[in-house]
């Protein structure tokens, strides 16, 4: 399923995943950006996790969860990452903002004055879709790992800190394998992503219960409506998945509806992956959703399959994951892309 671009949201017609061919609106006339800022050199090196030692695996999220220390540390680090100052270039807000809004430069890399005022550095519907997002993930993982190390240091010296320091060595961002047949009785979307509260979180000040799950949503702190450009995102203080309303400040995510819709479509997702591996042998067709005259038999693409995941999670009322501008604020974005 590829969500069609509804006329209901015509102003963001070009922004939904899989619909970027429907460009372009004269966005530069809608808002402006200071593209004449004095050139300042970039300062942030994308190194990934530059740790000594062997390569460590990114684990499937359900596998990571089986290691209690790593899982606890992962949640604490995600919490800390999201709690960073929204003006910090290596904090959640600014890293997520590279993909879309806020419409400002990151690391002094200025807008192209000939690019029509487009929002977001992300590249879609092009051959650099896979490679750009790979570099983006490396940056995300680097920023995440800085948080892991900060979190470990907040534990008082002793056995517990030593345990988490050990767990940190092999901790990498997990991925969500959305094409996997889930364990019997479970959804293809792991409960660790769709559960609002977590219990038994070990913190430096003791065990906490009823903590908002950092994999469930991002809470803007504060929400800056002008950064988000349009409603309802400009008035949504948290990220939503499959919300029950598209323009209300009282919208709520509907995780149970999302999981049932997703599970009903799991087979078609799996078949798409299968088709891609068997028949998409040319990078030009494999890599992106704009290669419309596909090679014989190759009816999808990596980006095309990826689009459907975005659209399922965003749902019928267009939660954050539906649109390029807002998608990366949702913590599931990086589980999807890893």
């Amino acid at each position: 399923m590829v969500r069609p671009c509804s006329s209901k949201h015509i102003f963001v017609l070009s922004l939904c995943f899989a619909c970027s061919l429907a460009l372009p609106w004269p966005l530069s006339k809608i808002y402006s950006k200071n593209i004449n800022a004095r050139a300042t050199p970039a300062t942030i090196a994308i190194t990934g996790i530059a740790a000594e030692g062997p390569l460590r695996a990114r684990l499937e999220i359900r596998t990571l969860q089986q290691n209690p220390d790593q899982w606890n540390l992962y949640l604490l680090a995600m919490q800390a990452f999201q709690a960073m100052n929204q003006s910090d270039p290596m904090g959640w807000y600014q890293v997520a903002g590279i993909h879309g809004v806020p419409n400002i430069p990151w690391d002094n890399v200025q807008a192209n004055p000939n690019a029509g005022g487009a929002v977001g550095y992300c590249t879609h519907s092009s051959v650099v879709f896979p490679t750009w997002h790979r570099a983006y993930l490396a940056l995300f993982e680097q920023a995440f790992y800085a948080c892991v190390q900060k979190v470990v240091a907040t534990f008082p010296a002793g056995t517990l800190r030593d345990r988490y320091a050990t767990a940190a060595l092999a901790l990498r961002i997990p991925y969500w394998d959305w094409a996997q047949i889930p364990p019997v009785g479970q959804s293809a979307i792991p409960a660790s992503i769709t559960t609002k509260y977590i219990n038994g979180l070990v913190t430096p000040t003791g065990v906490q219960n009823n903590v908002i799950n950092p994999l469930f949503r991002y809470t803007f702190h504060p929400l800056n409506g002008s950064d988000m450009l349009y409603n309802p995102w400009a008035s949504w203080p948290i990220t939503y998945r499959y919300p029950n309303s598209d323009n209300s400040v009282t919208a709520v995510s509907q995780p149970s509806l999302l999981t049932s819709v997703f599970d009903s479509n799991l087979r078609s997702i799996r078949e798409g992956v299968y088709n891609m591996f068997m028949l998409c042998d040319d990078y030009a067709f494999f890599s992106n959703d704009a290669a419309r005259s596909s090679s014989a038999g190759c009816y999808t693409s990596l980006e095309g399959i990826h689009d459907t995941i975005h659209n399922f999670i965003g749902g019928t009322n267009y939660g954050h994951m539906t649109w390029l501008w807002w998608a990366a604020f949702d913590p599931v974005f990086f589980l999807h892309h890893a």
Binding site: S14, L55, A57, P105, A111, V127, R134, V273, H336
Partner: protein
């Protein structure tokens, strides 16, 4: 891929062990090592790239400027960042060229 695996038919369950975007990309690279970023005009603007610009594997990707990140570099990034412990492919760094 069928040739690569030496069989004429590959059942779903053999292939679809692992699937999300960057990992699928790494797996695909392993299966089809000779096809990579083809020089192509981009469709639509991004913040830094004008629609119609021809991009190839050496084009610098923004906003990752400091070490001149390109698709060619990202191909090697997989050696450092992408690992896949599960069957059937084994660790990704072993098969990404």
């Amino acid at each position: 891929m069928r040739e690569w695996l030496g069989v004429s038919y590959v059942p779903h369950q053999l292939i679809i062990f692992i699937s999300n975007v960057d990992r699928l990309f790494a797996m695909w690279q392993a299966v089809y090592p000779d096809s990579y970023v083809n020089a192509t005009a981009v469709n639509g603007n991004s913040y830094t790239t004008q629609s119609g610009t021809i991009l190839d594997q050496y084009s610098r990707m923004t906003c990752f400027l400091l070490q001149r990140m390109s698709s060619a570099n990202a191909k090697q990034l997989s050696l450092r960042f992408i690992t896949t412990p599960k069957a059937p492919f084994g660790p990704a760094q072993a098969f990404v060229t």
